[in-house]
């Protein structure tokens, strides 16, 4: 019986190629998107699970209620003594470790290169299960100068000798960071960390005493704790807080009431990637909201694809009447027929899955690049994944096939067998439901289009926004060589002679992301209990001019005036307002290093991303601070200018590589995840529309076929081609309008939520909706129009001959 069904289904597919191809393509397109998104979701949800005790590992983090920094008052860092305290005092703690991720200069003689290294305490491998290719987890970090590196790094450091890993063990190299340089010895070779680890490294070294100073007052170490399986995580958080109260509470500045003990809390290791958005993460995390958004998008796409099938199959049901009738007369029961037709759609869904699997394999690479994740291709063939995909396809087949099967198996043989032709019935089986489904499809399309338009508008707004700063053609060179401090005059003199250089200055941080913040000790006119925190950047002469900052009061720092270094300050308008000043020039404030005098006030400019509002800012004159050399260049001969710049700076600092970026690029990079999201959503929208159109195309074909006679009659009565086209398109046009009415408000609401993350955002204008409606209508009409025109060209004599 089954074989009979399958054979007949396959022949039926072959005899109705257009129908079958539209169906398989629609389902395959939908399933491809679902598979790719499922791979992404699985990857995101699987972060850090590879550690044997992943579920028992926690990170300790803290909240400082009154200390907002870059939009959050939570911090991933803790005091240095916390590691020993939890290990010694809490019996249910199996092990604990502290670490920091730092960029360090590595060299084995000659010019070095930068690597991101993990500075760790010796218990690192006691908590984490990173695989070691050489060395033993228990002892590899035993010696204070121990370093563990990856094979790739071994090759980079030691050339061919290091290539096999083992040859590198025992060799030494130099690491340099801001606290100076030291020699370390390779004690082990680590496998490349898995792509789904939130900790990435090529190098692991033990802290030396310089790296890890400070008692309970320090606050810069990431603490990871592995609990015994029997431990109660809730109690652990409470115990950590208790330890903090006892120790931090004893500090003099807490006792004097200048600060409070922060609130400590814990995060599961496996939650960090998707659910942690605190300050000082190791790297940019994923976001559970995007995971949900993508799951939602996948569901919408699948819904669209299922609807396609349902619609096409019910439309075609009209032409399968005879088969149903004959089968019933031959003794088929309703349930047997139902099973047959559901079975058919399951077969189609499985065929579509096969196509989708191939497509997903092809698209895996580009997709991974698009979402910026190293999603393993092996996911595709993992048994559990394949089983899930099969289940999903069968489910899709059953859901999509249920209604057509219901319609078909309900048909009465007496009715469908009466006509002698192909068994086509004029009854528009389920045409109301079909219209409703088309509305849903296009509502999804309209909604997604509105989403895409709003996101694009916001990104466009961001890239064109007046940020109060001229980022154009500003090169920011990162200087890590401490030896260069104090050489400003010489650097400036040399750089200025490069032909393409227009202006030179420097600062302690990038002007697009000033990330140092300090609470003001005092300022003129302070009401006693007020607290104001300001972001601060050390800057050099010419900073404001180079960036085109506008002064609303006062003037920039001047080399002509003595005594301004570290004593004069330029603030922004927000700072002036927050400090309660009408005019600021001449007033004094104290940032902790004695009173400074305000010499100027600049108009507010964005020194953070558009996600955040403009905060108070203080620019302090400090010519020795040259962490970022800012160079305004002329548009001509840019490459020559950059290489001259590189040559000049490398002369000053022979062991450090030249590192630079354009300020414009740094600005754009802050919206990377939004841009990525925009691309992903655009693609999904495109696919949803294409799928919806496939369905509409098939549907229009059937409607045109069913109305062949009517069209013939109308033509003999004098209807023109355009009359017929209008007649056939009108119906679908109406559906698109309803879809618009349904989809727009939902999309409007969703996009308001999305925009809320930006302190500076566009208003959703009417244009977005008009645009979405126009695109949808155009796409739908173009699809329907093809059949409408074709139908209107039919020869009425032929169409009516069969009557």
């Amino acid at each position: 019986m089954l074989k009979n069904y399958i054979v007949v289904s396959l022949r039926a597919f072959r005899n109705h190629k257009l129908y079958s191809v539209l169906n398989v393509l629609g389902l395959a397109g939908g399933l491809t998107v679902v598979i790719l998104i499922a791979m992404f979701v699985r990857f995101e949800l699987g972060f850090d699970q590879f550690h044997g005790d992943a579920d028992n590992i926690y990170r300790v983090v803290q909240r400082q209620p009154n200390n907002f920094y870059l939009g959050s008052n939570e911090f991933a860092v803790t005091p240095a003594p916390l590691e020993d305290a939890v290990r010694d005092e809490l019996a249910y703690v199996e092990d604990a470790t502290q670490l920091n991720r730092r960029r360090v200069l590595l060299s084995n003689g000659g010019r070095g290169f930068y690597e991101s290294g993990l500075f760790v305490t010796p218990s690192f491998f006691g908590v984490f299960d990173f695989e070691l290719e050489e060395g033993d987890a228990a002892s590899v970090l035993g010696s204070p100068d121990a370093a563990v590196i990856t094979r790739d790094l071994a090759r980079a450091l030691f050339g061919p000798d290091g290539a096999d890993g083992a040859g590198a063990v025992g060799r030494t190299f130099e690491i340099t960071n801001h606290s100076g340089g030291r020699i370390v010895t390779v004690a082990g070779i680590a496998a490349e960390p898995p792509p789904d680890s939130h900790l990435q490294f090529a190098l692991i070294v033990r802290y030396d005493d310089n790296d890890r100073q400070g008692g309970w007052g320090s606050n810069s170490f990431h603490t990871y704790v592995k609990l015994r399986p029997s431990a109660d995580p809730g109690r652990f958080a409470a115990d950590v807080q208790d330890i903090a109260e006892r120790n931090i509470g004893e500090l003099s500045w807490v006792q004097e009431g200048n600060a409070e003990v922060p609130h400590f809390f814990t995060q599961r290791l496996t939650d960090i990637h998707l659910r942690s958005h605190v300050n000082f993460e190791h790297s940019r995390n994923g976001d559970i909201r995007y995971v949900w958004l993508l799951i939602g998008a996948a569901a919408l796409i699948m819904l669209t694809a299922c609807i396609n099938y349902t619609n096409l199959a019910t439309a075609r049901a009209a032409t399968r009447g005879r088969e149903v009738g004959v089968r019933k007369v031959a003794g088929a029961s309703r349930s047997q027929l139902g099973r047959q037709f559901v079975g058919e759609s399951v077969i189609l869904a499985l065929a579509a899955l096969l196509v989708a699997g191939g497509l997903a394999k092809l698209l895996h690479g580009p997709f991974s690049a698009l979402v910026e994740r190293d999603i393993p291709a092996a996911f595709l063939t993992a048994p559990s994944f394949v089983a899930l995909a099969l289940l999903c396809a069968v489910l899709v087949g059953v859901i999509a096939g249920a209604y057509p099967a219901f319609v078909l198996s309900r048909m009465k043989p007496v009715k469908v067998l009466k006509t002698s032709g192909s068994g086509t019935t004029r009854s528009m089986a389920g045409s109301l439901l079909r219209s409703a489904l088309v509305v849903v499809q296009f509502a999804v399309g309209v909604g997604l289009l509105v989403g895409v338009f709003v996101i694009r508008q916001q990104l466009d707004y961001i890239s064109k926004a007046e940020t109060g700063m001229d980022r154009d053609r500003v090169v920011a060179v990162t200087i890590r060589d401490r030896e260069m401090r104090g050489q400003w005059e010489a650097v400036k003199a040399e750089v200025s002679t490069i032909p393409g250089v227009v202006a030179v200055s420097s600062a302690s941080s990038l002007p697009t992301s000033v990330d140092s913040s300090v609470g003001l000790e005092d300022w003129e006119g302070r009401e006693s209990d007020e607290d104001v925190a300001v972001y601060q950047s050390s800057v050099n002469y010419g900073y404001a001019a180079l960036l085109g900052l506008e002064f609303v009061e006062g003037r920039p720092f001047s080399e002509e005036r003595a005594g301004e270094v570290e004593r004069a300050v330029v603030i922004n308008e927000t700072a002036r307002r927050r400090l309660g000043w009408d005019t600021a020039v001449g007033k004094e404030l104290n940032m902790g290093s004695g009173p400074m005098q305000v010499v100027g006030v600049v108009g507010d400019f964005h020194f953070h991303s558009m996600h955040l509002g403009v905060e108070p800012l203080a620019l302090v004159l400090s010519p020795d601070e040259i962490s970022r050399v800012l160079v305004k260049v002329s548009p001509n001969q840019l490459p020559e200018t950059i290489s001259a710049l590189s040559a000049t700076l490398e002369r000053f600092s022979p062991s450090y590589p030249f590192e630079y970026q354009f300020l414009d690029d740094a600005y754009d990079a802050m919206y990377r995840s939004e841009r990525r999201f925009a691309v992903v959503l655009s693609l999904i929208t495109g696919i949803a529309l294409v799928i919806a159109c496939l369905g509409l195309f098939g549907l229009a074909a059937f409607v045109a076929l069913q109305r062949r006679k009517e069209i013939g009659v109308r033509k003999t009565l004098g209807a023109s081609v355009s009359d017929i086209v209008f007649l056939l398109s009108r119906e679908f046009g109406r559906l698109v309008i309803i879809a618009f009415v349904v989809g727009s408000p939902i999309a409007w609401y969703a996009m308001q939520q999305w925009l809320a993350q930006f302190a500076f955002r566009v208003n959703i204008g009417i244009g977005v909706f008009v645009g979405a409606a126009a695109v949808t209508a155009a796409v739908a009409l173009a699809t329907v129009g093809y059949h409408a025109v074709k139908a209107s060209m039919t020869d009425p004599v032929k169409a009516l001959r069969h009557e």
């Binding site: 007949v8 003794g331 047997q336």
Partner: protein, 246 residues
């Protein structure tokens, strides 16, 4: 109930129609298509139903085939009132005893001749071996072995109707209901089909109820029932024809 119990004896009624009426629509638009038809058909009988187009012949045949139900009156099939049966029981009886032949053949286009013949057996859950031999018998009997892998579109009208009859016959039904089986055929093919149907009746004892417009073909039966405007106008015995046993 044992097998032999539901084998009606020759001469016993297989159909008893009592005041069967069928109307379509309601109220002002109600069309009374059959108006109180009463008719007995004996096991092994060959009945021809004739009458002008629109007189209700097909409607009557559909009711007898349980594809449709009377609005009033009852139709007994082998002693059971069809309207008292559940859908499930109807399908069961239908599968077992009734074979249909249509004017328009109604073969399934996507199936070969062989598969078209096999389908009714599949619905009866006949085992694969039996199925093969039954289909092979039919092909043999109708000289269609060479055509068994062809699709309907590759056959002539007469050949299609042969397949249609073979399909009705493959389940070894008690009764074959044929609605203008020769209506679409030219006369030589029509004669061949009618001879075949008569043989079935004579040699296999299959009860035949056929609808026809052709007087000559009507005379192949024992009894001719003439319908006029939904009522029986006359019932006549055909001279020289009587129900025979073999």
């Amino acid at each position: 109930m044992s097998e032999s119990d539901d084998q009606p004896q020759l001469g016993e009624p297989i159909y008893e129609l009592r005041g069967v009426s069928r109307s379509f629509g309601s109220g002002f638009n109600e069309a009374h298509v059959l108006k109180g038809i009463s008719l007995d058909i004996a096991q092994g009988e060959f009945v021809s139903i004739v009458g002008p187009s629109g007189s209700g012949k097909s409607t009557l045949l559909n009711i007898m085939g349980m594809l449709d139900a009377p609005t009033r009156g009852s139709c007994y099939f082998m002693g059971q009132a069809t309207h008292e049966l559940s859908e499930r029981q109807r399908v069961k009886i239908h599968r077992k005893h009734i074979g249909f032949v249509f004017q328009a053949y109604h073969l399934i286009d996507e199936m070969t001749v062989y598969e078209n013949l096999e389908t009714p057996l599949l619905y009866r859950k006949v085992k694969s071996g039996d199925r093969k031999s039954k289909v092979a018998d039919m092909l043999d009997r109708f000289n269609m072995v060479a055509k068994k892998d062809l699709f309907p579109e590759q056959l002539s009208g007469g050949q299609k109707q042969l397949v249609g009859i073979a399909r009705a016959l493959v389940i070894e039904p008690r009764v074959i209901l044929a609605d203008e089986p020769t209506g679409n055929l030219h006369s030589s093919q029509g004669d061949m089909i009618m001879d075949l149907i008569r043989d079935l009746n004579r040699n296999d004892g299959v009860t035949i109820v056929q609808v026809t417009h052709n007087e000559r073909y009507a005379a192949y039966g024992h009894t001719v029932v003439e319908l006029l405007d939904g009522s029986i106008d006359s019932v006549s015995q055909v001279a020289g024809q009587s129900v025979q046993s073999d």
